[in-house]
């Protein structure tokens, strides 16, 4: 609507400059946008730009150790195995967690989309983990799944295992915590996407002779794909920035040495703000690369219009 140029030379009635700008969407209404944009520039764009600038001002110590002049922080990031390995450690946690949460949510959302008694209760209970928060989840995991916790005690007393399972202070602990916080989120999102699909489409497929599998694969899944991609991205973002649980129920100097933790250490323990910013910004870059891949995959999977949401 606003793309082509205006045929301006005809006699104008009430079409003053103001009106012609209004036609392109520029009017006083836009003033309402100003506070939000000023806010975003001051508290997001400026600090971000400042942080990027900071990454090019490495400490003398970093330059001495790694060289590379003003790029020294980046040299250190890629060369220092202790830092760089945390990229893989973070992805090794976040990708499986997000994938698990999405894949498990699909059949559950499907089975639970029909009305049944207790559905409302079940959905309310699923929202419960929101009230727990990461820190309490961590504390609970330490107690419940710890060596002397109820879980190991139950398994041992029933003779299922001889030795307590090591479920916390390692990779598994962080993964459990990511599932507890991520699964309800993924389930609620997917079931809302699922309910947005017009059931008459599946009914139509049924009348055309499609069986359950065909209906799912040819009708529902393609329509759901954009929603699944969005859900995956959002759960991945949640899991990717995992920080407190990596420290509390993980192995903070080993298997769960995630990027957020490394950035925080540089920031508050080593007081190396430029290195901290470098790790933080590389963390954002890695995340955006994964998101870009998901979008790419989505456009391969599904090319039609999303019919509204996506």
């Amino acid at each position: 609507m606003t793309s082509a140029t205006n045929t301006a030379s005809r006699a104008h009635g009430s079409a003053s400059l103001k009106h012609r700008l209004a036609e392109r969407g520029i009017d006083t209404k836009l003033l309402l946008l100003v506070p939000a944009i000023v806010f975003a520039l001051l508290l997001f764009v400026y600090p971000f730009a400042y942080g990027i600038g900071l990454t090019f001002q490495p400490l003398a110590a970093t330059q001495d150790q790694w060289g590379g002049g003003f790029l020294s922080n980046y040299v250190a990031f890629f060369r220092d195995a202790f830092i760089f390995d945390s990229v893989w450690l973070t992805l090794k946690l976040a990708l499986p967690a997000a994938l698990f949460n999405v894949l498990v949510s699909i059949p559950i959302a499907f089975k639970l989309r029909n009305k049944f008694r207790g559905k409302r209760l079940l959905q309310t209970l699923l929202v419960l983990p929101i009230t727990l928060g990461t820190v309490l989840t961590a504390q609970g995991l330490l107690i419940f799944a710890g060596r002397q916790g109820w879980l190991n005690r139950f398994l041992m007393e029933n003779g299922i295992i001889d030795q307590p399972l090591a479920l916390v202070n390692n990779y598994i602990g962080v993964m459990l915590s990511l599932i507890i916080s991520g699964f309800p989120f993924a389930y609620l999102l997917i079931s809302s996407y699922l309910s947005g699909i017009d059931p008459s489409l599946e009914a139509a497929a049924k009348t055309l002779g499609a069986n359950w599998k065909q209906r799912f694969r040819r009708v529902t899944l393609p329509l759901l794909a954009p929603g699944l991609a969005t859900t995956f991205i959002l759960t991945f973002v949640l899991a990717f920035s995992v920080f407190p649980s990596a420290r509390l129920v993980g192995d903070a100097s080993g298997d769960t040495r995630v990027l957020a933790l490394m950035a925080y250490r540089a920031f508050s323990e080593q007081l190396d703000y430029s290195m901290a910013s470098t790790i933080a910004i590389m963390m954002g870059v890695v995340e955006l690369i994964v998101i870009a891949f998901v979008f790419l995959g989505r456009s391969f999977l599904y090319k039609g219009s999303t019919g509204g949401k996506g």
């Binding site: 609507m1 606003t2 793309s3 082509a4 140029t5 205006n6 045929t7 301006a8 030379s9 005809r10 006699a11 104008h12 009635g13 009430s14 079409a15 009106h19 209004a22 036609e23």
Partner: protein, 377 residues
Amino acid sequence: MAPSTNTFETLELKNVGRSFGGHDALVDLNLTVRAGEFIALLGPSGCGKSTALNCLAGLLPLTHGEILIDGKRVDILPSEKRDFGMVFQNYALFPHLSVEKNIAFGLQMRNLPKAEITRRVADGLALVKLQEQAKKLPGQLSGGQQQRVAIARAVVLEPRLVLMDEPLSNLDAKLRLEMRTEIRRLHQSLGLTTIYVTHDQEEALSLADRLVVLREGRVQQIGTPEELHNNPTNWHVADFMGYRNIVDLTVDSVTGSLARVSGHGISIMATVAQTAAVGDTVRVAIRPSDLVVLAPGESPQGRETIEATVNVVEYQGREFAVEVTTTAGQNLFVHAYSALLPGSTVQLSVDPSRALVYRTSLDQVDDSRRQLAGVPA
């Protein structure tokens, strides 16, 4: 409710136009409306009729032209100061306000005394027979009732002009007929000047004092229902007015206002509605009801007949709608009063005054506009 006193002599639209980006949605609309008139803007979707209405309402700024009431410009006023009432296609009732509060809304905006608001809301409710629904929310009403609230909300203000944007298009067929009568009744009793947008020619013909037919943003014809019904100015208006048979034929000869046209197994005398010369390809428009099926042995009363084969017969109550094919394969639509057998051969004839000859092009308006536009690329 008393007839409105808040009125004017004339409403003039002068060269009103509106473009979106490079696309002209409405071009040079000229129209003079007298107080109390009921005008229908008619055309297919995308013809610019809703654009025209929104320009009048002030919801869209004009790209060019002006709107005057008794010589005073109103197009520079914001919508809320024009003192027009409007009925929207999807009713646009305030979902959080009860029926009576919806109707009172405009009166409150005019800061009228409480007692007067109460009285006029009661009048408005009575007018549309919704007294019992006064306390309900719009969501609890049926489509027809919601439409009535929307109408009451507009007319209770006794506005200078009432604008209606396809108000009946969301109703089912039966309700549409009822509401059509209701709107006509309201107009007759209140005398409010009304501009009504519709794509339904039957609705426009039955409601309006005058019709404005639009196509691609340009006025095709302005006239009374009879004028449009009997003498469309071009084949497009004819098509819209129910001239279902539109056939391209060649002019063989012209005698005064009559011409002999032929082609596609048809050769008839027809009335020249737009200038035509011998040898021209022209577009001939005939209503199905004007194509008479001759009974076996009946004389064509000196007229040429068209021989055709019956294809499809639909029963439509009093008559049969029949699709036939001429010997040269041209499909025609005719009305018959007896059931015809598919596959049988029939003879058709038409009164020359009811077969109208038009040029194939609709460009007359465009020509003048191109000269006007001149400069821009």
